[in-house]
Amino acid sequence: MKLKLAFISFAILITTILAGCEPLLVLDPKGPQAETTANVIWLSIFTMAVIVIVVISMLVFIVYKYRASKQKEDYEPPHIEGNPIVESIIIGIPVLIVIFLSIVSVKSTYEVENIPEGYENQEPMVIYAASSNWKWHFSYPEQDIETLNYVILPTNRPIEFRLYSYGPITSFWIPQLAGQKYAMADMVTKINMVAEVPGDYAGRNANFSGKGFAENTFTATALSPDEFDKWVEEIQSTAKPLTEEKYEELLEPGHLGQMTFTGTHLEFKPAPEGENAGHHHGDADEEIERNDQEEGLEDHSNH
């Protein structure tokens, strides 16, 4: 037992040392969403640590005290069926903890799903993030810009990422800004975030999507609003427009570096939302929808 405890404490020691060197990405938030999750994680770690410590100390105490080598030869352990008071304690305390954490969970989930507190009155900036094997395409409909494998965000402005995928399910994740969400081929999901500190943040697809999955990463850079505007202007004056042919080329499986274009692919290849969604089929716009899908099919056969 002692040996094992020594090893466990050794392991914990190592982890704290390593954790001390450089903060872990998830616990080093740079925006309100990630901050909420980081706080929830710390809270749950502390709560759970209490349980672990209680269980382990009970175990060590009991095993130490009632080991056979210490008992008398003729000691006969008693027959104990159970005790209502003891059992209500071991049921009651976990129930209380679970209720507490349930409240935390529901509350924080609503928080991270919505526009963060303090930013509600700003109109969120919409960026479409589409994954293809094994790249990320970012479209700024407002700025009329498209980037590949990197995304620039203005700080202190709510961003609404609209996610979808060409092909396998992927998961859009910038650990320091917000938790992840799936991007799927037949619908658009949304994720809200705000970057409060300028800097470069690692982003990646977290959901296994085949051969090139490990390198399916991107960089999210947060710039101050002035610098962001400057960047937009610069792109508008230097970058080439994105053509449909070029875009089809980009969609081919493989890895590409960072690229920038003016114009977005949404104009000729809209996201699967609203009328284009494969997920919802309202009765009213069934006709339109079918036409759209037929077009979609033709697109498919072209490449």
């Binding site: 982890t15 296994f208 490990a214 979609g296």
Partner: protein, 648 residues
């Protein structure tokens, strides 16, 4: 030639060729060995056609151990590949195949088989029955499982392994993105072994409900039997979901339907949804028998009755229901909104309560006990703290908002290994050591066993605890490589070191079997552990009829009662015993299923039709068969009992 091209491996590598040769040589060696020692007849009569639950149980466990080494080799390869940044030991495709087969083999063909094997061996003995309710169906279950396992395992030498992860999410697993036949193998091997598992479920529910010894009321069943009952209830209601999901997946891949495609009205998340409707109960299918094993072992080696029997049973009943209410927590990040996530977050956390009750009941069982540190007990003692850590990280994952950060990361990998290894694998090893003398009549060496335990536990801590940290640092699961800049290197190296220790532990455990077989004393008597439940009231190893006389029971610890309170277990005289006949039908049926699956994988329709006719023909033959079993005579029983140095 064109016909044979489909059997080629799409992504060959020296490693695969080497294992091909190794497999070939091993098979030849086995065949030559059996022929040389002239054991084919013995093998066929005594094992391949057996309907004896004990032998079927042992065959399950042998297959499970083989699969453990197959899956373990995969695990070591993965840890080796990720031990240092930018490693080139495996390429991306090969790594994907390795983690996919690791998951499938470990869950379906190792853990499932092992718990079912232990249930097979122990449950009828614990309830004082001669066999299971449907002995022949039991043999069919085993051979279907075996056919499925073999079908899955030939994938990497014929046609290519599945590579879409053990969760096999569509559309990645569809033909657009996974062109080789690998995923077809996945579909059919799980389908075939799943049918076997479903039948096991039905078989054991009826066995437990209808074949208990006189006096054994439901609330007087030993805890392992209770856990087996609940497990099988979950099996019966969870596996049909997998059946349908696999059927739809097969249709999508081989008949061009649009269930899980993202065009023409299909929905990719439907697969994920159905997979986890089955998948989450599956977790409890694995862990509940483990809880049962620990309950038996902790009570035995604390020399005390199990504390809070009723709450133990109650918590399992609650778990059986709750396990079907939580599946959405496997894809909180799908974007279905905070309300749905909130609901499933709460139901998920609710499971922690019955599980917590169990942990405290085990602690209270040891309270005022007389604790002996045998190998099975060491595993149980190691299980409690390690599983608690795994459990609480599960609660952390159940918080939906935080799950957005843990999902798909190494944190998750660490969590589920942290419940499955100390939960299921420790329990398997503990149960195997504990019931070993019942199976073979001698004990495993305690000293080597203890070394194995320490290597395994310490190796486990090193292998998996670092993953919690790399997960929080942004390392996604299933990445075959990472750059040095990420800083994941040192901790992954530590994981590899831990995996190495675990590999040593398993080698020690195998050596222990060999060593004990050579050196352990035989004739250990009926009750080497000073145990409490009914299975210890018969000979070691157990004669084929289990109990010469049906025992009469008056408590959940019938054997303890007979030792301490003088309760008389065997009141009747020895009379002739009715036993079922052996049958070659199960293995033949499974053979047809194997051909069916294999032909379907490669779309060889003629093979599909012929084997389907074979399956139906075998079933029709069975329908018309008139087999009333046989009797073991009184003299024969007395002879056997005397040979064992019997108590009667």
């Amino acid at each position: 030639m064109e016909f044979f091209e489909r059997f080629a491996i799409p992504h060959p590598s020296p490693l695969i060729y080497a294992s091909m040769v190794a497999i070939g040589l091993t098979l030849i060696a086995i065949v030559i060995g059996i022929t040389y020692f002239n054991k084919w007849g013995y093998l066929w009569r005594e094992w391949l056609t057996t309907v004896d639950h004990k032998r079927i149980g042992i065959m399950y466990m042998i297959s499970a151990l083989l699969m453990l080494f197959r899956g373990g080799a995969d695990a070591v390869m993965m840890r080796l590949q990720t031990a240092v940044p930018d490693n080139a030991f495996l390429d991306a495709q090969h790594y994907n195949e390795v983690f996919t087969t690791h998951g499938v083999v470990m869950i379906f063909f190792m853990a499932m088989a092992f718990v079912i094997g232990l249930m097979n061996f122990v449950v009828p003995l614990q309830i004082g029955a001669r066999d299971v309710a449907f002995p022949r169906l039991n043999a069919i279950s085993f051979w279907l499982y075996f056919a499925g396992a073999m079908l899955f395992n030939i994938s990497f030498v014929i046609g290519g392994s599945p590579d879409a992860g053990w969760t096999n999410y569509f559309p990645l697993a569809g033909t657009d993105f996974s062109e080789s036949v690998g995923v077809n193998y996945y579909m059919w091997s799980l389908q075939i072994s799943g049918i076997g598992t479903l039948m096991t479920g039905i078989n054991f529910i009826v066995t437990i409900l209808k074949m208990r010894a006189p006096g054994m009321k439901l609330m007087k069943m030993p805890m392992f039997t209770w856990s087996a009952l609940i497990t099988n209830v979950i099996i019966v209601f969870a596996f049909p979901v997998l059946t349908i999901a696999l059927l739809m997946g097969t249709f999508d891949r081989q008949f061009g339907t649009h269930f899980f495609a993202s065009t023409n009205g299909g929905m990719d998340m439907l697969w994920a949804n159905l997979f986890w409707v089955w998948g989450h109960p599956e977790v409890y299918i694995l862990i509940l028998p483990a809880f049962g094993i620990y309950s038996e072992i902790i009570a035995t080696f604390s020399q005390r009755n199990l504390y809070g029997y009723k709450s133990m049973v109650g918590s399992m009943v609650i778990i059986s229901f709750l396990s079907f209410l939580v599946w959405v927590h496997h894809f909180f990040t799908m974007g279905h909104g905070a309300l749905v996530n909130g609901i499933f977050s709460i139901t998920t956390m609710a499971i922690a309560v019955p599980t917590g009750i169990k942990i405290f009941n085990w602690l209270l069982t040891m309270w005022k006990g007389k604790i002996r540190f045998t190998v099975p007990m060491l595993y149980s003692l190691g299980f409690i703290p390690l599983f608690t850590i795994g459990g609480v990280t599960g609660v952390m994952l159940a918080i939906a908002s935080a799950d957005y950060q843990y999902h798909n990361t190494m944190f998750l990998v660490a969590h589920f290994h942290n419940v499955i290894i100390p939960g299921v694998v420790f329990a398997m090893l503990a149960g195997l050591t504990y019931w070993w003398p019942k199976m073979f009549g001698f004990m495993l060496n305690e000293r080597i066993g203890k070394w194995g335990f320490w290597f395994l536990s310490i190796g486990f801590v090193f292998a998996f605890f670092p993953m919690y940290i790399t997960g929080l640092d942004g390392q996604a699961r299933r990445m075959y490589t990472y750059s040095e800049a990420t800083g994941f290197g040192p901790l992954n190296m530590l994981s590899f070191f831990g995996a190495g220790l675990m590999a040593i532990a398993f080698a020690l455990i195998v050596y222990n079997v060999y060593y004990s077989f050579r050196h352990s004393p035989r004739n250990v008597g009926m009750d080497p552990w000073n145990a409490r439940s009914l299975e210890w009231a018969t000979q070691n190893p157990v004669p084929e009829y289990n109990f010469a006389v049906t025992p009469v029971v008056n408590s959940s610890e019938a054997f303890w009662d007979s030792k301490k309170n003088g309760h008389q277990l065997f009141k009747d005289k020895i009379t002739k015993i009715h036993m079922p006949n052996n049958s070659g039908m199960p293995i033949i049926l499974a053979g047809f299923f194997f051909i069916f699956g294999f032909s379907f994988v490669f779309s060889i329709w003629i093979g599909v039709i012929v084997s389907a006719l074979g399956i139906l023909g075998t079933m029709a033959y069975r329908s018309f068969e008139n087999d009333h079993g046989r009797y073991i005579s009184e003299e024969e029983i007395k002879e056997t009992e005397k040979e064992y140095g019997g108590a009667k």
